[in-house]
């Protein structure tokens, strides 16, 4: 790409950056993990993001969809997106091959307060596809592990086959520097782990409320119950972070589709702390 084209891209926030698919991993029947590399070197080097931010994936002729970045900000040069086949754009992406070119715009939105979390314990709770943005945060914490206190990860899924990144987490289960617990609602014969909703796991948790940050991502119905558990552990409302899914068509606070109460999820979120979120109408 010429410098001129680069300037045009910079000047127009609606114009997607061309990116090549460099790897596709099938995770489940409905989810794939894509790795992208922005084609222009200058753009690739300039692309920095925070855990919890998203990009707009653009497939011309089909449209755009906002997807949270799953890779860690500490790993540069590529962008990893965990995508569920759900709508037109995500289905079109699922049909793409390695080497195909798509468009990416971003990064957009407000991520998790990584720097603020340093020096504290972290309690991460993910339900289903909610692990996608949290994986970015988990991997970022992993890469700077000595800056954090206790790190607890609770993962919930409907059944064992729907647990995303199962291999990585199976390995992590035995690590001493992460407390990782997985649970499923519907176990099968292969499952020897926890059964039940993710909230059930809180009974056994010992949380130091004065020094713990929470991060939650999952289906809309999950937030209220997980927040209730964190509040029972006396965690402050402004230390509990949630990431919201909305249809962010422009990603830059203009199209209006992602309005939540008096905020827009695309620029004021998608990560909000619970103190903000509890004051947003129709948020939780």
């Amino acid at each position: 790409m010429s410098t001129d084209a680069y300037k045009q891209l910079r000047a127009n926030p609606y114009r997607p950056w061309p990116a090549r698919i460099t790897s596709i991993t099938e995770l489940t029947e409905t989810e794939k993990l894509f790795e992208f590399r922005l084609i222009d070197e200058e753009v690739r080097e300039a692309f920095e993001f925070d855990a919890g931010q998203f990009v707009e994936v653009s497939i011309f002729g089909v449209g755009e969809a906002p997807i949270s970045i799953s890779s860690a900000p500490s790993k540069q040069g590529f962008i990893e997106l965990c995508v569920r086949r759900a709508g037109d754009v995500t289905s079109a992406l699922h049909n793409k091959q390695c080497g195909d070119i798509v468009g990416l715009r971003g990064p957009f939105g407000r991520g998790f307060p990584f720097e603020e979390m340093k020096g504290h314990d972290v309690l991460l709770v993910a339900g289903g596809l909610g692990i996608a943005p949290l994986k970015s945060l988990i991997n970022h914490i992993h890469d700077e592990r000595h800056d954090f206190g206790r790190v607890t990860i609770l993962l919930g899924a409907k059944n064992p086959s729907e647990i995303l990144f199962r291999k990585q987490f199976d390995m992590w289960k035995h690590r001493e520097d992460f407390d990782l617990i997985m649970t499923v609602d519907q176990p099968d014969d292969s499952w020897d782990g926890e059964v039940g909703l993710v909230t059930k796991l809180f009974d056994r948790l010992d949380v130091d409320a004065t020094s713990t940050f929470g991060a939650i991502c999952g289906p809309p119905v999950m937030y209220k119950y997980v927040i209730d558990e964190m509040r029972k552990k006396h965690m402050d409302a402004d230390r509990i972070y949630v990431s919201f899914e909305r249809r962010m068509k422009c990603g830059i606070g203009k199209c209006g589709h992602c309005g939540v109460g008096h905020q827009y999820a695309c620029i004021d979120g998608p990560v909000f702390n619970y103190w903000e979120a509890m004051n947003l109408q129709e948020a939780i």
């Binding site: 609606y14 011309f60 449209g63 755009e64 070119i101 468009g103 899914e245 199209c255």
Partner: protein
Amino acid sequence: MFFRVMDKSRLPDLVAGLQTDFEVIGPVAKGEKFVFATLQDPDELRLDYDTTLLPPKKFFVPPTENLMEFETADNEVVSADVESSPRVLFGLHPCDINALMLMDNVFLGEYEDPYYKARRDSTLLVGVNCEPSPQCFCNSWGTDEVHWGFDIFLSDLGDRYFVSVRSVKGAELLDRFVETRDITDIDTADLQRVTAEFKASFPRHVETSQLPLLLDAKFDDAVWDELGERCLSCGACSMVCPTCYCFDVRDKLSADGKTGERTRVWDSCMFSEFAEVAHGHNFRASSSSRVKYRYYHKQWGYLSKFERVLCVGCGRCERACKADISPRVVIDALQKGATVR
């Protein structure tokens, strides 16, 4: 800002002069109503209009707009040209100028919109004072006055205009195309008189105190259900609103599927699928939640960011609504706890 006085009979000179360099767009009659349209002849201009059907936003964010052209094979942008040509919007009322400034906060703020910006930069605004119509309530928001955001503003003093000049470009054009003179104390006194008469002539005042608090405190009030039952979800209120800016983005493919255009089109939070996300989950599936959200966003959401409400009291939504829902009706119901029927 500086001030001049222009004889009313000179108005066609000014318009004709501007037409030599610009496309001049102004209010013209369409049946018994008015629309903003390109003037072919200066005499078409109707500065005695009440309110136009559509607001001036269509000249900055058109109902349908091509953002870029693409090729599908390599997912490549072929062109993303930003179109703009020199224009003058002539005869804007204060409410419509104020509305454009509210749009500016969105489109020219963080992540500047290059399409809007180009059109804004290439368009001069000439304002004119007005008379309130039965639906007007700009006095309730303070948008009955405007002190910046225009190049030239004409205040009608009967036989002459009190001309306020805000920009260098406006001063230059006034100087080039029309004869004017210095203001006198009599002109200023007349302007004050005209302004006072204008302010006293509003048929209504909407009580807006504590509105954000009421919107939160009465979030579950039955009044929203009543409004929801009445609302037809037609979106007319948003289309005619000078401050509604929501849009949808759509790709249009050519017949062979190899090329296409990415367009944006006006959208409305009143449409049932507006807040839908993947797998069909809809955060505002009910009509009542959508009516509520529109008012919530305008009177509270936007306010929380820009310290102004996203309404200028032009009354277009009231005129357009087939279900008799208007800001006055909604705000009255919140203020008085009264039923909206």
